[in-house]
Symmetry: C2
Subunit: 261 residues, 2 copies
């Protein structure tokens, strides 16, 4: 089964049937994947405001109606409670369980947030001959907790998480230009160069994902990362929240190139 | 007193003292002005979601914390309850009063929404030799209710209001390119050409503002308009809402050119 070439609706069906429970990286080539956060309506206002105030780490692809599991704009017939391979349940900011289906946990007051993912611009970078080292090396992208405070909103606050891709200065300029036109998947880099400036002590020890090689003459380029909402949930400790498990994303029907709108 | 050359903080102070109660058009040259909607927290979630789903008519510049009159990002020391020359009070979707100060109406559960205004891109158009007819003719911009339904969110629904500027096809292409890079002030046009296609029967009879001359060889170019929230309030009839009076805007400390971010 060649998942890379399959249609998003086909792969979502296999996920829904429990036939795919692993990471979605590389599946449905060219289609955008999304990060998930689910909150009760009580906390959803503060989080919606948080995403409005922090669009670079939390670019919204779609927000569900209260109680609705249905994904409308980003995937025809998508069910947010069954179409992700692995979910994480958070109680008071602590991870309390993992599930491959959350139908039994769904509540009438839940609101889902589907958030853009930097995976969507990597194809664009490769097409412009900008290297994506973690793909070259077959690893998960390195992610770091920074000292950059998100702008708080109500109960939600926390530090920005970034992903890092090493490249030459010339490539960094090209990568900035390309990603600046894709604000719905984190947009332009948040920092280029010295990691210490944003509170990162050691590039070889990422807080999430895996380290990659930084070659002679390359500089690290940092983008805001969709793991930020999980870091924020850990800081703000809402009574209950559900996210995707890292790397286990929602695959949309929307092509990455269309996220430039 | 030359308001066009004064700093936004000076003009806001005069408005706060009741020394300016008229329209703000042309004041503080180069600085962005914003549309206002205030709602109780109870209805604010649905409206925040509405703005997220309808970013072209409702591009958010800033959303206040619940109960706070303070403007932070867009204007240092701004007070949303005193710094607008004229406010409108809406009860159950009906206009019930106009005020030059709403301090006495303010409630601890109020949330303000400051929304981008197409006024901000007109300087950019003029700088690129694109005519702005209503400025040439000294009139208010013509605005029309269209048949384009906004995407509903909770209690909020309604039709999109557009502003119109006539120009040649070549100028329309230039204007599209310029405004596409300014998504926080309505972005690219929503329609070019035949008004009937978006439900406008007669360009000479705008629903808001004043008609302008369309010259031989020109086509009408339509942008989403910040009057849409008022149209939506009239449709959705929330128990209470406060807006600015048309043309009586909040003047920010942020230059129009910086709204490209």
């Amino acid at each position: 089964m060649e998942y890379a070439k399959m249609a998003p609706s086909q792969v979502r069906q296999l996920i829904r049937e429990g036939k795919i429970t692993g990471q979605t990286s590389g599946m449905c080539d060219g289609y955008a994947q999304g990060n998930l956060l689910i909150l009760p309506r009580e906390e959803a206002y503060d989080f919606l405001l948080f995403t409005q105030r922090n669009p670079k780490p939390c670019p919204i692809l779609e927000v569900g109606d209260m109680g609705s599991r249905l994904v409308k704009k980003m995937a025809t017939g998508g069910d947010i409670a069954t179409d992700i391979p692995r979910y994480r349940l958070w109680e008071n900011g602590e991870l309390s369980g993992e599930f491959t289906d959350i139908s039994h946990l769904w509540r009438d007051d839940y609101v889902y947030f589907l958030i853009g993912c930097s995976f969507s611009f990597e194809g664009e970078l490769l097409a412009a001959d900008v290297p994506v080292r973690h793909i070259e090396e077959g690893r998960n992208v390195p992610m770091y907790l920074t000292n950059i405070e998100c702008e708080p909103a109500g109960m939600f606050h926390g530090k920005t998480v970034v992903s890092m891709r090493p490249m030459t200065a010339e490539q960094a300029i090209r990568a900035t230009s390309i990603t600046a036109s894709m604000p719905r998947v984190h947009g332009a880099p948040i920092h280029i160069g010295d990691p210490a400036k944003i509170g990162i002590q050691d590039l070889s020890k990422p807080d999430f994902g895996e380290a990659v090689t930084v070659k002679e003459g390359e500089i690290p380029v940092f983008w805001c990362c969709g793991v930020t909402p999980q870091s924020v949930v850990m800081s703000a400790r809402p009574p209950i929240a559900i996210s995707h498990a890292p790397g286990h994303m929602f695959i949309t029907d929307v092509k990455n190139t269309l996220l430039k709108d």
